[in-house]
Symmetry: C2
Subunit: 476 residues, 2 copies
């Protein structure tokens, strides 16, 4: 595990030094991480990267080399640098479970810790969780578009660097992919890796047929052939069929073909006809080449004969929406035992944060479908035996009353008093949990384009607190 | 340095195993890395990431743990895994210098090595060089739009993970940024880091004024204040002016203000008026908030009073064009001493690669401006004392003749016989080189939108080779 303690914006450290000089660095504060707009222009966001965030917190420490570097910047007092030498995270962190589906303005992670600790971790927390949540969400959308066909992550060469390719592959698996081409991700996260041959294999031999024969000879039971190096229908598929017949005559079952260029709808349908006529009716027809959830939806609706999808660049970078705008805002500050809620005003009312130390609950109907979320103060409880009325935090006249419902508290302790409470799960376990989560969502929230907006409401107590703060806030 | 040997697509390893089984793995081949479309929809691309690619090659080896993992996949023969144990790169790699400006279809990096080595390194090479070249190019565009104002890289929290934020910061510095907020990047690459305070600093104090006073007290000579937490013109700027006056009365020179929301044009002009009236006429007015080269161009043309730019999300992800589509194609294969050029045909003629072992030269006019590039076979020479006629590789009737010119060969040896020939330069040295490179380009090629297309032509010998191959290629 690398030491990422300096993976932070310099202003976190200039502020820490300032808090230290003003002797308020030990004040207990509450920060929330949340986003204001779902990933990928969609109707929901899958939280991912929690495990790497936990690793980051567990490894937080300033090495001598780090401190020497900070000293060289001539910004910090010696006392402060000495203080950093013993830095250790001692606070509380509450988080939703990795793989949980979340919605705008909900606290995903809430940190209650001494100011200097809570402030330092902002940047790394956002970097880690924003990216993996983005890619997990993107992958889930691609998988939804593929309607149950297997989707494979193929994007390493176009990822934003080695780690983006590797942790992006992790997130893509969490989002629902069946495997990745990234061998390092396979090793690190114990997930299936897949791959056969590239155009260069086909080119290396004197003819395409020789290249296919050679591949079949080495991998008789794993023979999937790339058929578009020269001409799919005049050369690639006929040569593949020759080789498949030979394999079948020797008792092997060929796997299928891959198309990586051209009109995937037309080519897949024609290739399937040729394979069917040759008696190979149940092979994999894999397509790759600049796919995303929109193209897959189109190809499906046009009747493409593709039953397996390799998705690269546009998945691993979430190309049409390449960042999740997660933020981390001060929500409260303690003076002794009394809590002082904090608010950041903005020209745009939707950007005003929810103050106070909060938690979040999800309301399910009798069939287990999620109906709404409810942001409340941390010490509030819901009596699920009584009807519950929730209302829109901005358009307060919009309200809904639930009669028969169950509730689930989404925050779990990740660290308490600096001690790690995280239950590590495998990537495949998290992927299964994501599927459970998705099954609780009505289809309308999962629609690829123009999804319905999920209800996220505030408790009366929280709404009153926020209104009062806005009314009384001193602005100078 | 981490071991990135498994940072590869599985098909590279299935192919390696196949080549090994067919005993053609030691055949000497030539691969070219090139892209077909410039980064960021622009007129040029700055090559970056060469140093990390060199590190990757120098560290290539399969650890026992790697081999154990590969064995667990049940895809590879024992002989092959034993063979990998002693894997070492022994080939030749030619590359342009890091920071060189390149254009579509030009070989950036050419690898001449035994097939199994040249094939393995494809994915990591592309991952490393595609990403850093993308961000270096994006940064250079942002800096061009800022017309000499300093530009700072602020994007870590929205980067595609920790490494994308850190190596992205390196690339942004190479592209022309003056500094980064990323402390780890500052430490790793010895580049300036910058940062002051966030909204949470302002919120932590009872009033904005107190927060400014506290900051000025701790950093009297580095006082740049964030003025948009409550209200820029009614609160932020007036409070900043109070504090600046106090600082000035004590002999300190305040640095300036930062705007992070609202209408940056209007707010900056009004803030500047207020600062000017208070006698602070030469302060930094820094703007941040979703900036890119297009918004900066607009703000400049509207007369915004901004003279320093913090650019985050849209720089570190190259948001409107988040990948560079670099590819790596087999160009030749040796049989003994004789070279067999290789070509990949495509439905789209522009996608056909240039075959053979090649080099690239740049032609400069008497004033040192780059006029055209010329892709030639590796053993060709240009006699610069004679006129030179170049022609378009697709539209061959388009030709240009140069009378008075100089030439520069762009490829340099990076590895020869596995031995590293790379001359390491600092990031700041590479940034200086990029500025030299940009100064050789006519403005038309650097235009942010709709740039002129730079001429990249083929030598007659290469063009003939390509035409013959296309005419005679056996497709089955």
């Amino acid at each position: 595990m690398r030491n990422l303690t300096l993976l932070t914006d310099l202003y976190q450290l200039t502020m820490l030094n300032g808090y230290f000089e003003k002797n308020i660095h030990e004040d207990i504060v509450v920060f929330d991480m949340f986003f204001r707009k779902n990933a990928c222009n969609g109707g929901y966001t899958i939280v991912s990267g929690i495990e790497q965030f936990v690793d980051y917190i567990n490894n937080l420490h300033f090495s001598d080399e780090d401190l020497e570097y900070l000293r060289s910047l001539k910004l910090f007092s010696d006392n402060f640098l000495t203080f950093l030498k013993d830095f250790k995270f001692t606070g509380d962190i509450y988080s939703v479970e990795e793989g949980t589906i979340m919605f705008p303005n909900e606290p995903i992670i809430t940190v209650k810790a001494p100011l200097y600790q809570a402030q330092l971790i902002e940047t790394a927390l956002l970097t880690i969780v924003n990216f993996q949540s983005l890619i997990a969400t993107k992958a889930s959308r691609v998988c939804l578009a593929a309607q149950g066909d297997p989707v494979f992550e193929f994007g390493l060469r176009r990822a934003q660097g080695p780690d983006a390719g590797t942790y992006g592959a992790r997130a893509a698996m969490i989002g629902g992919c069946h495997g990745t081409a990234n061998v390092l991700a396979g090793k690190l996260f114990d997930v299936p890796v897949i791959g056969t041959q590239a155009h260069s294999w086909v080119q290396k031999f004197d003819t395409e047929l020789e290249s296919f024969e050679a591949y079949a000879d080495v991998y008789p039971d794993k023979c999937l052939l790339l058929v578009d190096t020269y001409n799919v229908l005049n050369s690639g598929v006929p040569n593949a069929i020759k080789v498949f017949k030979d394999l079948a005559s020797k008792g092997h079952k060929p796997l299928g073909i891959r198309l990586d260029s051209g009109d995937l709808q037309y080519l897949s349908v024609e290739a399937k006809k040729m394979l069917d006529e040759a008696g190979f009716t149940d092979l994999s027809i894999t397509a790759s080449n600049d796919l995303d959830e929109y193209t897959i939806t189109n190809l499906k609706s046009e009747g493409a004969a593709i039953n397996s999808w390799g998705v690269g660049t546009k998945l691993i970078t979430s190309a049409d929406s390449p960042s999740l705008g997660g933020v981390y805002k001060l929500a409260a500050s303690y003076k002794g035992d009394s809590i002082e809620p904090k608010i950041k005003v903005s020209e745009d009312p939707e950007k005003i944060n929810n103050p106070g130390f909060k938690k979040i609950i999800r309301i399910y109907n009798a069939e287990g479908k999620a109906e709404a979320d409810f942001i409340m103060l941390h010490d509030e409880e819901i009596d699920a035996t009584k009807p519950l009325t929730v209302f829109h935090p901005v358009y307060t006249w919009k309200s809904t009353t639930f009669e028969s419902y169950t509730v689930k508290e989404l925050h779990q302790p990740l660290f308490i008093g600096g001690e790690c409470k995280h239950n590590k799960k495998t990537v495949i376990e998290i992927r299964d949990y994501v599927q459970d989560e998705l099954s609780t969502l009505w289809e309308a929230y999962k629609r690829i384009s123009s999804p319905k907006v999920y209800k996220v409401d505030l408790s009366k107590k929280l709404w009153d607190l926020k209104s009062n703060l806005l009314d009384t806030k001193k602005f100078v």
